[in-house]
């Protein structure tokens, strides 16, 4: 089973993707996911964004399981 990852704003430009999937087997929490994401897309390292797990803003240690939806939300500055 997979964890579904959604990317928004400038993060889609950095990664060239709007959605990603990762096998939940080795990803136990947001820390694991972050490590995996930054390895796959080093450009994310410098970016400001928040994680939302199943549509709630969540902090680094938040546990993850198969079927979770994780959104990466960057600030937008335009108006």
């Amino acid at each position: 089973m997979k964890i579904n990852i959604l990317l928004f704003g400038v993060l889609t430009e950095v990664t060239g993707e709007t959605q990603l999937q990762v096998d939940a087997e080795n990803i136990h929490d947001l820390n694991d996911l972050h490590t995996w994401l930054v390895k796959k897309h080093p450009g994310l390292q410098d970016k400001t964004f928040q994680y939302a797990v199943n549509q709630a803003i969540s902090s680094a240690g938040h546990p993850l399981q198969a079927g979770d939806e994780v959104a990466l939300l960057p600030p937008f500055s335009g108006g």
């Binding site: 549509q55 960057p74 500055s77 108006g79």
Partner: protein
């Protein structure tokens, strides 16, 4: 306060709604709403709040209308180019609805002028186009205990939220800093494109939330962030908790939290401005200066010069030690705004002489074209 027969006629369709009725319309009439930024988001917000009969509206904007605004800033027209947005907006809006009061502030909203302006309003609309003013709005609204409705856009995507709002039970919702504690990433220059309809969509969401908050109907976006992607027609509502530690820090004016917001671009002390023409002369004379392109993301090559480099604004702080060796540094970006902040940052770190290229590459290119002609 009452509604005249003309007003009852004008707002007939509101009054027919059981959720609003005459009582709701009177609440709108009594409302005092400050709209900060009269650009892409501010235009639809103002158009709909004025049409809806919000009785007292303030408009804060120090900018003037330019041709490239007209693709999305629907209050303005070709013949108003060069005029102050706040003034043009007021005239257009009063022609639409003379029943409302409009006050204009042709200045840049900052932590400094905030208390004076905010005291006359009950609700704030964050329609700005840069992170610095957004943090200034957030922090000043927390201190003045006012709710604010945030809207922001990026290319085809938008975000909307109601922040710092006290619900009927007295519980307060999240603030912008509860979502993004620090302005970690630099606001991009205006080189990022935006689809013209998008601010119309996001701005009308903001206006809708304002009407809900004023009349007390429905469930406003307090503690929630609405994320809209217009390209794929997706919408998500993300829950955000209020972070009391962050709120306390803002209330106590902890400098490590407020420094970013306190910096207003351009007007910072110590930064010097240089025009395209002046820079061109200096480069032609092989002046001893270090030219830095501070644009973010992918972009074409900047101004060619023997002693130059590219360091995105968000990485600049890491290079300060190296740059300390330079006698004179000139920073530029696409529009001159990110570079103004970059210049401020370098001055704050103690660089002796820092110049910001006014109008950025936009002006630089114009100047170049002039020479060719």
């Amino acid at each position: 306060m009452h509604l005249s027969n003309r007003e009852k006629d004008r707002y007939q369709k509101h009054i027919l709604l059981s959720e609003i009725g005459e009582q709701g319309q009177l609440k709108l009439k009594a409302a005092r709403v400050l709209v900060i930024g009269a650009g892409g988001l501010g235009c639809p917000v103002l158009l709909y709040l004025v049409s809806a009969g919000v009785g007292n509206i303030g408009i804060v904007d120090d900018d003037v209308v330019s041709l490239s605004n007209l693709q999305r800033q629907v209050l303005y027209s070709t013949d108003t180019i060069g005029k102050h947005k706040a003034d043009v907006a007021k005239e257009k809006l009063l022609a639409m609805n003379p029943e409302v009061q409009i006050t204009t502030y042709t200045l840049r909203f900052s932590l400094k002028n905030a208390p004076d302006i905010l005291k006359d309003y009950d609700l704030v609309m964050d329609c700005t186009d840069n992170l610095y003013t957004r943090y200034a709005i957030n922090d000043s609204c927390i201190r003045a205990d006012k709710p604010f409705i945030y809207g922001s856009i990026h290319r085809f995507e938008g975000q909307v939220a109601l922040f710092n709002w006290r619900d009927k039970t007295g519980t307060k919702g999240a603030s912008y800093r509860c979502l993004f504690p620090e302005a970690g990433e630099a606001p991009n220059c205006s080189e990022v494109g935006v689809i013209g309809v998008l601010p119309g969509i996001i701005g009308t969401y903001q206006a809708m939330e304002a009407i809900k908050v004023i009349t007390g109907i429905g469930q406003p976006l307090s503690g929630k962030l609405l994320v809209v992607d217009t390209l794929y027609n997706t919408q998500r509502v993300i829950r955000i908790n209020r972070n009391e530690t962050i709120i306390e820090a803002v209330l106590k004016e902890k400098p490590e939290l407020i420094t970013e917001a306190a910096k207003t671009p351009v007007q910072s002390s110590g930064v010097q401005q240089i025009t395209s023409r002046e820079l061109r002369k200096l480069l032609a004379n092989k002046a001893d200066l270090y030219l830095i392109d501070v644009r973010e993301g992918l972009h074409d090559e900047g101004i060619a010069y023997s002693h130059s480099t590219a360091i995105p604004y968000s990485h600049l702080a890491a290079y300060v030690d190296e740059l300390m060796e330079e006698n004179k540094v000139v920073v530029y970006c696409q529009s001159g705004r990110t570079s103004a902040m970059a210049a401020t940052l370098l001055i704050d770190y103690g660089l002796p002489e820092v110049y910001n290229l006014v109008g950025g590459l936009n002006e630089w290119e114009k100047e170049k074209n002039k020479e060719v002609i």
